[in-house]
């Protein structure tokens, strides 16, 4: 699959690019006024705006999770009443999925890095990029309003007819928030697709693109093609509440299963919106700290596209017990297994890359190694769930909860935090404290496993998800899980503290602290407003490590 060895070898022996000191002020110093930030069309500043926004949402969503875990330490759930509990898991799910996981890597790291990695001055449509942030904030306000005004207890999946008929009226406001957030996602996707196609520096062929760019590209395709379906689904739920027409309500002649089809047609691919950028970040981290070109570069690149494509064909595995036909179930089961193939290819190739290279166990690499372990567990348990018969047993139990947290938190959040650490010197111009970084990564890994591994057992033993109380015999595992969540919470606090601390006290970062090969490292840290003094010309492959 790779290019002939000769041409590669010639490429690899290039000396590292020299970084010329910039005469221009950095993007942070360029215009310090509030207007300079709020009306900026600079992709780097927009990335920072997103960083603040999603960190805020992550905080609220994590708080809701902490409340739930605290509540579940006792079988009776003494902390909150069941109604509040339902509102807590809804707000946790809605904020985490639409306001943290979906935008995290694409909107923060992607916005910041994509043009830098392509050697471009900006994304293809800078003003649309800024608009996407405003749309995102507006969406967040709708959702927060629903939360403050009384909360919603439907769960993040809004299953009908409960959400469309019986739940309280704040469903409309929250659905509106999600509807609007979708447009932000579509704007980002359209922008990235055009940027990757058209804004590449001379010589930067598709075969030389960093894998992070490939993964953002695949993600953008999914964003553009899946999100609008969700928007209409949310619209139909809102309309059904307002007018009582009965598209989804069986009592009025509608079909609740139609809702599930429409919802999962978006929401399964959305899992890949969340995880694919994580894959990209992990590829960069592993290549950088193994000092090694990624083994099977083109296979890793194409597996992202394969996952994006297959992701559209597997939504029915959320509906095995929904009375869909057994033949549909069989097909969806088979297709779901297929997604494991490109995913496994990636894991194998990352592993081989590390084996071939000389590994430095820095903070980002610890996150990447953690990612490999957690994603593998999450992926393999996904196969359990894709198996028709097994799924009937563990459907809607904590097994499912554990599985998707292993994928989305274990995979995506580890990728995000790893990527944030890898590019932190580039973004801020400051180095974080390496020792604290390692402690943080380790704590998160331990805390995460202690939180979610017991949930596999709970689910296998039959504890249903979304329940506020449980039989006594499940208490031990639940207490373990809550203890893990405490460690995990502490682990998340650490990066928040030492990364902010680094802004004042951190060492000044050189242009290329990790001696990495990407184009983004050939410009000063933090980069000047227009990224590069002169447009770089690329004459070698993405991971040309010479030592």
């Amino acid at each position: 699959m790779d290019k002939p060895a000769d041409s590669q070898r010639r490429d690899i022996h290039h000396p590292p690019r020299e970084v010329e000191p910039s005469a221009e002020p950095s993007y942070l110093e360029h215009d310090r006024s509030l207007k300079g930030w709020l009306l900026t069309t600079d992709h780097k500043r927009i990335g920072i705006l997103y960083l603040f926004t999603i960190t805020f949402f992550f905080g609220i969503a994590a708080f809701a999770a902490a409340m739930m875990r605290a509540d579940l330490t006792t079988p009776q759930g003494d902390l909150v009443i069941s109604e509040t509990y339902n509102k807590l898991f809804t707000i946790h799910g809605v904020l985490m999925v639409w306001f943290f996981l979906v935008p995290s890597i694409p909107a923060v790291l992607g916005n910041f890095l994509l043009p830098l990695m392509l050697g471009a001055k900006d994304v293809a449509f800078p003003r649309i990029n800024l608009a996407s942030w405003y749309v995102f904030v507006a969406a967040g306000l709708f959702t927060l309003y629903a939360m403050v005004a009384g909360g919603v207890d439907t769960g993040w999946t809004f299953y009908t007819p409960y959400s469309s008929t019986y739940s309280n009226g704040h469903v409309i406001s929250m659905a509106m928030g999600i509807f609007i957030a979708g447009f932000s996602s579509i704007f980002t996707g359209v922008n990235f697709i055009a940027t990757v196609h058209k804004m590449r520096a001379p010589g930067l062929t598709w075969g030389r693109l960093p894998l992070f760019v490939w993964s953002l590209y695949a993600t953008s395709l999914v964003m553009v093609l899946a999100t609008p379906v969700l928007a209409i689904t949310m619209f139909l739920v809102m309309a059904e509440r307002l007018f009582g027409v009965g598209i989804f309500d069986p009592a009025l002649g509608g079909d609740p299963i139609l809702f599930q089809h429409l919802f999962w047609f978006y929401s399964h691919p959305a899992v890949y919106i969340m995880i694919l950028p994580g894959f990209g970040a992990i590829s960069e981290i592993i290549a950088t700290f193994s000092r090694q070109r990624v083994f099977g570069y083109s296979v890793v690149a194409f597996s992202s596209l394969a996952i994006a494509g297959l992701g559209f064909l597997v939504w029915g595995h959320h509906m095995f017990v929904s009375s869909q036909s057994v033949y549909a179930g069989l097909v969806f089961s088979l297709l779901s297994f297929l997604v494991a193939v490109p995913s496994a290819i990636k894991v194998f190739n990352w592993t081989v890359t590390m084996i071939l290279g000389r590994v430095q166990f820095t903070t980002p690499l610890l996150y990447a190694v953690g990612f490999l372990g957690l994603f593998t567990i999450g992926g393999l348990t996904g196969l359990f769930l894709a198996t028709l018969a097994v799924d009937v047993h563990v459907h809607d139990t904590y097994f499912v909860v554990a599985h998707f947290h292993y994928i989305m938190v274990g995979g995506m959040v580890m990728g995000y935090l790893g990527g944030l650490h890898l590019w932190w010197p580039k973004i801020t111009g400051r180095m974080y404290h390496e020792w604290w970084g390692r402690i943080g990564a380790t704590l998160i890994f331990i805390g995460f496993n202690l939180t979610f591994f017991p949930q596999f057992l709970l689910g296998y033993l039959g504890m249903p998800r979304r329940y506020h109380t449980y039989p006594e015999e499940f208490q031990f595992l639940n207490v373990m899980s809550t203890a893990g969540a405490t460690i995990l919470g502490l682990g998340y606090m650490l990066p928040l503290i030492y990364l902010i601390f680094s802004l004042w006290k951190g060492e000044k970062a050189p242009a290329n602290p990790w001696r990495a090969t990407g184009l983004e490292w050939t410009t000063p840290s933090p980069p000047p407003k227009h990224n590069f003094e002169k447009t770089p010309v690329v004459d070698r492959e993405a991971y040309a490590y010479e030592d």
């Binding site: 471009a120 001055k121 900006d122 293809a124 449509f125 800078p126 649309i128 579509i186 996707g189 359209v190 922008n191 697709i193 055009a194 196609h197 058209k198 804004m199 553009v224 093609l225 899946a226 999100t227 609008p228 379906v229 928007a231 209409i232 689904t233 619209f235 139909l236 309309a239 307002l242 007018f243 009582g244 027409v245 009965g246 598209i247 009025l252 002649g253 509608g254 079909d255 139609l258 089809h261 429409l262």
Partner: protein
């Protein structure tokens, strides 16, 4: 009157680069729009399969005359947009702006006819959810579902058309106000693409809502 020219924004290498980037972005956006309407088409298909009789009954209530006239109006406007785009590219500014102006006007005509149809329905109390007059139909519930889909699908289309009218009308106004100054050709083609897309959606809505009847 302005004119089309090759002035390039700083982010792009040259004019063809800017043009191709703009087109790609527009096509990516339109592909997302197709799925936006696609969810409605799926919902329509599924609900129709449950409520065949009621859908036929309610569809025959729609005015074939107004629907057909509207289709004709939109198709002519699409022609005018295409003609105007070519004229502008050939720097025949007057012809281009006139045909775009007329196309935007036809868009307004379409919306006026649509509003008249809505008004007629409101008059007969056929708007779902608001004092819906069930006794007019043999299958009142199915008919209400049809009416709901009719209003939301044509409503979403009308909203898109409204955006298109503002866009095309704004372009015409902008051209005239930028006397002698340049205008990116990308903007012209993207506006035209959008207008054609909105017309295309109607070409699917018209048979689905008006033509399949008892």
């Amino acid at each position: 009157m302005g004119h089309l020219s090759q002035q390039v924004h700083e982010a792009y290498h040259d004019a063809p680069h800017e043009k191709r980037t703009g087109y790609l972005g527009m096509w990516a956006f339109l592909s997302s729009e197709i799925l936006f309407f696609g969810a409605f088409f799926l919902a329509y298909t599924v609900i129709r399969s449950y409520h065949l009789e009621g859908f036929r009954e309610a569809a025959s209530e729609l005015s074939l005359f107004w629907g057909t006239l509207n289709t004709a109006v939109l198709l002519v406007s699409s022609y005018l947009i295409a003609f105007g785009e070519k004229a502008l590219e050939a720097r025949k500014m007057k012809a281009g702006l006139w045909s775009w102006g007329c196309a935007a006007f036809l868009g307004v005509v379409f919306l006026a006819i649509k509003l008249y149809e809505y008004w007629e329905k409101a008059h007969k109390h056929h708007i779902p959810g608001l004092d819906f007059k069930a006794e007019d139909f043999e299958h009142p519930h199915s008919a209400e579902l049809f009416q709901f889909l009719y209003f939301s699908m044509t409503g979403l289309h009308a909203f898109h058309l409204f955006v298109g009218i503002c866009w095309i009308g704004g372009m015409v106004w902008w051209f005239r106000s930028r006397k002698g100054r340049v205008i990116q050709p990308t903007y012209v083609t993207c506006a035209a693409l959008y207008w054609h897309f909105v017309d295309l959606v109607w070409v699917f809505l018209y048979p689905l809502l008006y033509l399949i009847r008892a």
